[in-house]
């Protein structure tokens, strides 16, 4: 089955082994050193337009989270139907001391989530498109050792 990331240039591709060694790809401002994710053509902090690609830290801590308990409308492109939908957890994870990144929280019971818990960046299968391509996305999972 052909595989592809949900967007080019968003995270390490192909999926590394072990998969918790994936990194998100941000951009750093050459002038003020602010970091963005995803990579932005312009700096939201100082307005400069010289941005350089940079891998973000692969481990972080949970800043906040919620549960998504209803099936999102379009443009959501996940595989579920109203019948098969299961709530998921989503949160902002603080990577290093510069950026909080939003992403799905995998492999954890939402009731067990807590502020400050350690999480790793992971890459996971997201959906299979009509043409048979398996689409991968990024998220976070409890830190593995």
């Amino acid at each position: 089955m052909p595989q592809r990331p949900i967007e080019d240039g968003l995270f390490t591709w192909p999926v590394p082994d072990p998969p918790n060694r994936a990194a998100l790809i941000g951009a750093r401002c050459a002038d003020c050193r602010a970091v963005t994710f995803p990579a932005s053509p312009g700096c939201p902090r100082c307005g400069a337009d010289r941005m350089e690609a940079e891998d973000l830290p692969t481990r972080g801590t949970l800043y906040t989270w919620t549960t998504q308990e209803f099936l999102p409308k379009e443009p959501y492109a996940g595989p579920e139907t109203a019948q098969t939908f299961q709530p998921w957890a989503v949160g902002y994870v603080e990577l290093g001391d510069v950026l909080r990144v939003e992403g799905r929280l995998f492999d954890v019971d939402p009731a067990a989530l807590d502020f400050g818990m350690e999480l790793d960046v992971v890459v996971r299968p997201f959906t299979i498109r009509e043409d048979g391509t398996e689409v991968f996305t990024f998220g976070f999972a409890p830190a593995a050792g």
């Binding site: 967007e7 001391d97 950026l99 909080r100």
Partner: protein
Amino acid sequence: MSDVAIAGVGIHPFGRHKGVTALQMATVAARAALADAGMKWSDIQYAVGGSFEVDNPDAMVAFMGLTGIDFNNVYNGCATAGSALSLGVAAIRSGRYERVLVVGMDKHPTGAFTSDPTGYACPAWYGEMGYFLTPKFFAMKINRYMHDHGISVETLGRVAAKNYRNGSLNPNAFRREPLTVEQIVGSRMVNYPLTQYMFCSPDEGAAALVLCRAEEAPRYTDSPVFVKAVEVRTRRYGAFEVHSPSAPVERVAAPTTDVARAAFEAAGIGPEDVDVAQLQDTDAGAEVIHMAEVGLCRDGEQEKLVADGATSIGGSMPINTDGGLIANGEPIGASGLRQLHELTLQLRGRAGERQVPERPRVGLAHLYGAPGTSAVTIVAR
């Protein structure tokens, strides 16, 4: 520079109105505002119309009368009414026009708002992942806020219960059934920790204000209310805002804090002078956060204030006396003018069963929405 007065207010009830278009609702609200001011449509020289769903709010002239006036349309997310009012007020202050109509209208489909993420400077994948949803962000913001400032789930329930109670006293409200704290906290979980009855829903409605020069106000009303300030601000780098794939750890004040400070400065008063406030309660958590962000209290004080009933109609800091967004729903273009309609009635002493005792002197209206835009209006009699 002329000061600006509210000469008349009008509203079309919020809710669901099958077979009635947004432009028809706007016409009802505008005619009510004109009647309240004792003006005719032909007296109006300038109009601003706000809407999300209606391409051309100015098309209401087909129902009002084709007088050829300067009529402009605005959309600025949930702060649309703030932007519309700001333009209307500026037109009078500059001396360009003397009698102005500001009108807002909308008719939304059911369910959470959705749109094309790329129109919000968000990548397409953000929407494909199911992240382009406002309730989810607001849930994450209040979850962290509750942790940092000791706010309980019961407080969220009490805020919503207060707004439903106020809505039950408002004949123009969408939701008029009081709900208990237990019913609210125990309702279906939507985005932890926010449950179904803690959220407002998109709906339908219209509201309108007629503005005039302050010196002329006695011609139109025996109880004029003056617009002391109306300000709009967007987010700065470091604000933690909706529709953000990432947020810097470096934090600055929220756009609500920035815009409230600017409005207080322009009005020459402080938060302690506010007698009644209408805050953007997209959900119960938003009302809690916005109390502190506009400066009505400090972070964490909401827990006791709400428990003590300070934000109820008879309390020391009445908030959302007409039921807010939670009881009225949110027709985006009209929502902020609904707030000004309520503040005007309160300052006139004509809010009926919802009247704040001792007839308030100063009112504050606040709007907030994606992608981090806020408006604050301060009115006084």
